[in-house]
Symmetry: C2
Amino acid sequence: MRIRSGDAVALGPGKVDLLEAVREYGSISAAARSLDMSYRRAWLLIDELNRSLKAPATHSEQGGQSGGGCTLTEVGETIIRLYRDVEEEAQRSCAKQIAELTRLIR
Amino acid sequence: MRIRSGDAVALGPGKVDLLEAVREYGSISAAARSLDMSYRRAWLLIDELNRSLKAPATHSEQGGQSGGGCTLTEVGETIIRLYRDVEEEAQRSCAKQIAELTRLIR
């Protein structure tokens, strides 16, 4: 599920997975490693996300780009909760079509 | 919405957008151009999709990699229909959470 801001995708599964990894590992670099993603890509995704929000989803301590800790704000926690709610509800309400799609896959 | 095959993502919004573009433009190269994607990336996505399916979603005429025409099979059409159905249904059943998420975005 993609949440759009105008034409741009503000929020999708990649960013939400990354937020969860930041919450779990406490830094962007460790989160990136856990997702097998470059630090640069993770940093850019977080930066893009925060810029698209009214209030940021993360709070970086100390060095920022140089790799200090990173924690989630209330907004970050809310985004994860709502996004995972949407996924669960969508799986439930679309179970029939999802089963049909899955049947096409090896 | 991602449709998984084991741990891998067999189907997500990128591949479905690409299938729709192939249907509209009649070749992988024109579809890639319309999505501002490299021909190589589009070809790899289509190849990955077809390999993950029991029967392929596209049929390439003539040259394949060299850029002949590409049309959708019945399976390709079915994938687009089911996937867009899922998106519509999910938007409906998750309208409240989606509105909350959208409110966080600038």
